[in-house]
Amino acid sequence: MAVTTPASAADSAAPATGQQPGATPPASARRRAGGGARHWRWPAVVPFFAFMAVCFGLPACTLAYNAFTVVDPATGADHYSLENVRHSLSGAYATGLAGSVKLSLLSAVLATVLGTVIGQALLSSRNGALRKAAVSASGVFANFSGAPLAFAFIATLGTTGTVTRLLHLKSTGFSLYTFTGLVLAYLYFMVPLMVVTVLPALDGVRTQWREAAASCGATKAQFWRHVGLPVLMPSLLGGAVLMFGTAFASHATAAVMTGSSVPLITIQIANALSGNVLVGQENLALAMSLNMVVIALLVMAVQIPLQRRSNRWLG
């Protein structure tokens, strides 16, 4: 707060420069604020762009370039080819890609629905303390993914897991190391992420709308069917896209929990990179990565138009 005091003092002292961006400031002020700034504005920005070019641009361009390159094992010469991409979209790799998309779609839909229901339940319980606690817990669980999450689930529902032994789940044929098990584990960090994401939008559904609907004779279900959900739909779809992206990109949870028993593209890429396959497979891994990026781009592109509609109502 101490820092804002000079600000308010400056407001009254120099209102002309502070409040009229279009007006020409006095020459002395301009020399100080504008003229001097020309020296320091570019040096401050250059490191960021240089960093992005080297640490992101270089790997990304290499990825795109090498995905379309085949190295001749005999001569070591490389040439342009679609062989890698073709290979990465056939056989086991196609199964892996389809498995990843299926897993991400299912867990994204479930996380969106469950996250919204839980978020709404938090709001309608009208309990500030409960809400606060739930939001901070969601923050923790949303960050609890990867290897630790996999171990928590193995300890709970794995072959010798506590709950497995307690409820004799083995006799029911349940296994954590399957597609269902993965969905169950993914939801553990995706649902809290969705709760955190969707709460502000749910807050935006005004009580007045509900009262207006009720006084026109609408039931609760009719309110949600005709008012609530249409208004929320862009935010929900945006959340679903975020969920899909998160699930699609995650690798550690599945890798630690199931190894390669459930075919997933991320695990196949990591295996190909770790070098326990034939030489020349690196470019195949790059082609598979390119497929992932393309799918992620397509899914993200869906929600750019949605963003605008959502901002109109809940902005």
């Binding site: 804002t4 990304a60 509900r210 890798a255």
Partner: protein
């Protein structure tokens, strides 16, 4: 008549929300059971009853101390590099170069489209150029990049991966502060540029900086994919390796990492809240909305 027909509806709205309680109860069960079960798993030794052997072994284990230390050092280096890059850039863009605003935003969000495993695929290809560069000065750079005791390449990749967090929180912080006025005031009172940055800009952005830093730190501490593909052993990779022969120990480590995440986020709410509560609330709202629409 109208009043009579409206009455039951009003009562329905005011009804105690049993449905909500049921939903919340089920959710609490789903989230708490794995934690409780894992904790039980770490202390329960079939045949011997409750022991704390796994924790004692963890404390004695050299690999654990080394890998946790590496993770923490990587996390701190990532946060430092990320903030050094992003704070000046975003402040200058907000003040002087509004044209670049969209460019910086898009660049910072692009890592979200690139899954970590795809990014590391590109990075490992770049690293494999090392053999071709053996005679050039760049070779030493490559050596430093994957030095086992402190792999700089991980810091660089993690910084790229943490840009979305940093951008979101700093952007929210900048929106909630009238930075232009503050900087003009400070400069017109004779402060140097560096002094303005350190004593005016950074304190005003403190909640945003803390929240970006904590989120990046939590991400680095739990990261597995990049480190394991490139062959380094920070905490989460060690956890997986040790799980091959000692399940209890790795579950104990997993619980420790949950505890660390929890502690970090608690620290965040305490450091970033409080003093600037009102502004903070606005910031969180914009931050969250951005998250939905990324």
């Amino acid at each position: 008549m109208a009043g009579l027909t409206a009455t039951p509806r009003v009562r329905r709205v005011r009804k105690r929300p049993y449905g909500s309680f049921l939903v919340l109860l089920l959710a609490a069960l789903y989230f708490l059971v794995p934690v409780a079960a894992s904790l039980w798993f770490t202390v329960d030794d079939p045949g011997k009853g409750v022991t704390f052997g796994a924790y004692a072994r963890g404390l004695r284990d050299e690999g654990m101390a080394t890998s946790l230390g590496l993770s923490i050092r990587l996390g701190l280096a990532t946060v430092a590099l990320g903030l050094l890059l992003m704070v000046p850039t975003m402040v200058v863009v907000a003040l002087r170069l509004p044209r670049l605003r969209r460019v910086v935003e898009v660049l910072c969000m692009v890592p979200l489209i690139m899954p970590p495993v795809a990014l590391v695929a590109g990075v490992s290809t770049v690293l494999s150029w090392e053999q071709d560069l053996a005679d050039t000065p760049l070779w030493a750079t490559f050596q430093a990049l994957h030095n086992k005791s402190f792999p700089l390449v991980l810091v660089l990749v993690y910084t790229v991966m943490s840009l979305p967090f940093l951008y979101r929180s700093l952007d929210g912080g900048l929106r909630g502060t009238d930075l232009k006025t503050l900087v003009e005031a400070s400069r017109s009172l004779g402060a140097s540029r560096l002094g303005t940055l350190c004593r005016v800009v950074v304190p005003n952005l403190r909640p945003a900086i803390v929240s970006g830093a904590v989120l990046s730190l939590a991400m680095v501490l739990g990261e597995y994919t990049v480190a394991s593909v490139l062959g380094f052993e920070p905490f989460s990779v060690w956890m997986v390796h040790v799980g091959d022969y000692e399940a209890q120990l790795s579950v104990a480590a997993a619980m420790l990492s949950l505890l660390i995440t929890w502690g970090l986020l608690l620290l965040l709410t305490n450091l970033a809240g409080g003093r600037t509560r009102n502004r903070n609330r606005n910031r969180n709202r914009t931050g969250d909305r951005r998250k939905t629409t990324v």
